[in-house]
């Protein structure tokens, strides 16, 4: 670990002021950032602890829910508003990490998680464009079983590791951001970036920007939502493929649908093609399969991860079938 300064932010403006210094990072629960600092992959010169900022979970005027960025993951999963209106979010969060880590991790921090690509983690022994742009990517012809099948580039095939963000993406969450230029907000599907030729830049945040809250919009569809995570062991493993979805059926037809995929791309993957293919169609396995195919047609696989296409297809169909109340 490289020596660094540490300060606690007393409020958002204080955080922005303290975070404006180059080399500074905001610290949430530290469950990922501190690990990366120990590995000297992250080398901030200063940390501004923002866990004292808003962690409130409140109902918004229009019936949505606002979650302060400092809310602990566990607090989100336990909140009655979340459990009743956005079940996919609770399911996604409890599918991740361990209880101890969820007790520490914050919602804002979760958005900033970095990939678990083992070449990214191997600071001294491997090439990685995400750590050092232009360095090369050892995963392309190395161990890539857990890597991306959608939206990857020749520079980077890493995946985003979050479960929570996949559910947030399906639920149309908004990310509220405070920066030196004031506040703004972004739909979460636009918050993370695809790797392109700069996989080191993972989000739309500008230097000094602080995530202050996540807002879940009021949604009738969200109550019929779920999250399914497929992994190599029963707990404490990252998703090989995960699916967050919400479905509304009217007179046997898909009135509305949201689908997001995890474990398949550099960002939580909103399956808009699948959604478009499904809207208005008769709900059923044939339509669900066609929707999955529509999304996965663009998949590009590598030696280790070709199975993910079939796995994603099956999991999408299974989740939609479950949400449609039909038998598997």
């Amino acid at each position: 670990m490289i020596p660094f300064s540490y300060a606690r932010a007393s409020d958002v403006q204080d955080a922005i002021a303290k975070g404006a210094l180059g080399g500074t990072k905001f610290l949430g629960g530290g469950t990922n950032l501190v690990d990366l600092m120990r590995e000297t992959i992250e080398r901030p010169t200063g940390l501004v602890d923002v866990t004292g900022l808003s962690s409130e979970i409140t109902e918004t005027r229009d019936g949505g829910v606002m979650i302060g960025a400092a809310a602990r993951n566990t607090a989100v999963t336990e909140h009655p508003l979340i459990r009743s209106r956005y079940p996919a979010l609770t399911r996604a969060i409890v599918a991740g990490a361990s209880a101890q880590i969820r007790n520490m991790a914050t919602v804002g921090g979760n958005l900033m998680q970095r990939t678990r690509c083992t070449y990214f983690y191997d600071g001294e022994g491997s090439h990685c464009n995400k750590r050092a742009p232009g360095d090369g990517c050892d995963a392309l012809s190395g161990f890539n079983r857990s890597h991306a099948i959608l939206g990857a580039s020749d520079a980077c095939i890493a995946v985003h590791p979050s479960d929570m963000c996949v559910a947030l993406t399906a639920l149309d969450a908004m990310v509220h951001i405070e920066g030196s230029d004031g506040s703004r907000s972004l739909p979460i599907k636009d918050f993370h970036r695809l790797p392109g030729d700069r996989p080191d830049i993972e989000t739309m945040l500008q230097p000094g920007d602080l995530i202050t809250a996540i807002e879940l919009p009021a949604s009738s569809i969200a109550a019929n939502s779920t999250y399914r995570k497929v992994r190599d062991r029963a707990s404490y493993a990252f998703a090989l493929v995960s699916v967050a979805a919400a479905l509304e059926i009217e007179n046997g037809n898909v009135r509305d649908v949201r689908i997001a995929l995890g474990g398949v791309a550099h960002k939580p993957w909103r399956a808009e093609r699948a959604e478009a293919a499904l809207r208005g169609k008769p709900a059923g396995e044939a339509a669900f399969l066609a929707a999955a195919e529509a999304e996965l047609a663009a998949a590009r696989t590598f030696e280790g991860n070709a199975f993910k296409v079939e796995l994603a297809r099956r999991t999408i169909v299974s989740v939609l079938t479950e949400l449609s109340g039909g038998a598997v």
Binding site: M1, I2, P3, R38, T40, R116, T118, Y119, Y121, D122, E124, G125, S126, D138, S141, G142, F143, R145, V230, R231, D232, R233, A234, S235, Y236, A237, L240, F307, E310, L311, R314, T315, V317, S318, V328
Partner: protein, 777 residues
Amino acid sequence: MSILENAKQTAQGLFQAGMAKAIAMAPDSWIPGGEPDPLIRERHGHVGRPVSRIDGPLKVSGKAPFAAEFPMEGMVYAALAYSTIAKGRLSSLDTADAEAAPGVVLVMTFRNAPRMQPPPLFLSGAKAAGGDKLPVMQDDRIHWNGQPIALVLAETQEQADHAKSLIRVGYEVEHADIAFAEARDRGTDTAEFMGQPLHDEIGDAEKALQDAAFKIDATYTTPRHNHNPIELHGLTVAWQGDTLRMHDAQQLVAHTAWSMAQVFGLDEKQVVVTSPFVGGGFGSKSMWQHHILAAAGAKLAGRPVRIVLSREGVFRLVGGRSPTEQRVALGADQEGKLTALIHTGVTVKTPHNAMPEPFILPTRSAYAAENVLLDVQKVELDMLGNTFMRAPGEAVGTFALECAMDELAEKLGMDPIELRVRNEPEKDPISGLPFSSRHIVEAYRAGAERFGWSRRNPKPRSVSDGEWLIGMGCATGTYPYYRMPGGAARITLTREGKAIVDIAVHEMGMGTSTVQTQVTADRLGLPMDAITFNYGDSTLPGVIMAGGSQQTAAIGASVIAAHNALIEELLRIAGNDSPLAGLKAKDVGSRNGGLCKLDEPERHETYQSLLARAQRDKVTVEAQPPQPLETMHWSMHSHSAMFCEVKVNKVTGEPRVTRFLGSFDCGRILNPKTATSQFRGGIIMGLGLALMEDTQFDERKGRVMNPSLAEYHVPVHMDVPEIDVIWTDIPDPHAPMGAHGIGEIGITGTGAAVANAIYNATGKRVRDLPITLDKLL
């Protein structure tokens, strides 16, 4: 090898072969264990009771000191920098920034490390403990990706870690042999294990296979595994005058003391290794480079050193299990009798260690086949020296063999248990020796009954529950009874009627101190609270490793020898007024806190009375057991029948184990409570072997890419169902206490039982471990 050496080896081989024959032919009574240990008959004592761990309260209250918890005055903390290439030289090594970093006391590299001898390689001598025989930080050569290239000592761990990150390294890369398949295609050599070639032949197995009415012929592959005991490898080490003092995490205290003495040119007695508590060993807690580097650093810095490998560090410098590629071919007649049994294949080692994964070991005594061909070939790669990992050979060998038996049973349309029963050998098929104790059929019958095997549908993919396919499988596990030379024990009996046993053995969590206190109490006729069992200290008698599941037998035989010496000594000092006067040792035993004539128990005198009359405060004896000839006179093994139920998700392929039963035949069980834990632990490790453990060794660079418990998967609690454990409890008449060590048997057979259950559930035969969901889609 010179002609002279060849001739010497041949002569030695002939002598050994002659000896082996003589020992095999000798009357039972000449052999240790020929007269059954009297404790086998003892049924009302402490042995066999589920005594709770003596050290349990210490451990749960955090008061049991582990290797990296011993404080020392002026101690500094260590961090290691590792190479990132597999082979070549250091072209530059800039330590200036590290040396200038806050708190740094020493940066040691090949430039300033003291001159040291290479570690004696384990198995190369009676007390050798080294994981490999490479010189340690003596030159600029790199031999594997992950080799330590610098040791940093600092006032705090954080300072050491930080300074380490400031070291700048340049390499001159040389071609390294890293890829298994390429090396195999270039050619292989017959592997040797403990000085013997891993090759056996009876009849003409290939021809018999060709002619067989029913046959299977398949290739099974198993990956690399790394050791991940919960306690990281660590030690606290200091030079105290001329003595090297090591608080270590060890399963080889005496071996390590001697080996460290060789490295530093010391007398063996100048090295003291203690290891009172160990958080798991499994074969990994032997002597590796961090021992030598920490001691060398302590010497250079003139201060005590604490070194704890990071989890990554354990992957980089503690060897693991090698990959294997195994062929099993079985031929059988209409009745299912094996006519051909072929188990051959290739594994990997390095040029600087002596451990080819001996996967044919379980096959040697498994089945009565008319024609047998067993063979292990090896290739040597530029990698970290691989090593012993829980049931080396048997863990992965039983996977291949027992899957093949399952496949053959299906071909025959026969129940897989019935197939095994029909091929039960009457004597050891390879050595021809009689079995000392083999009740595998009883274990199968009892296990099948309890598990509900009759409910299994033999047709694959025929049982499901919603999204889940359900299946059952079984497999045989086996592990040898070993007892190695080097045993010794000291007993001190006090006038208060207390006994102290001193023996250089180990407690890695399996319950040694508890169980041996029970055994010793019964042997001496004393209550358990009168026994103090001292262990984990290289200055105590014995050169005994906690490995090969042999420690229980080694302690048993050593304490028997010391007890016999104690009886002799007590009779010698008893005097004419003792009721025991004039008796011979062989007619006397320990009962009720003293000695008595065995067939006349009322001729008894307490230890207190004996010592008081002799005006002695204490009597101390030390003795060594006879050489372990019993293993050359009988074929001695533990066995198990493993039963597994799995569910496999139809949608995702996720395999999950839902029930497991281990039915064991391991001689007498000394403590059902600690034994159950050991069996379960072995089975859990076997579940990991079956479903997830997999070292990602990048063959482009020879680098382990998943050196963390986040990416290297072992089972978590949710992966482990309730595991039922039963045993025959039939004593082996030729083993001390009638008992076998049980540390390794649990992992054997488990992988095959899981794979066979998955086949029954899905109809998919996965012959490549681990069985991950992508192989089941």
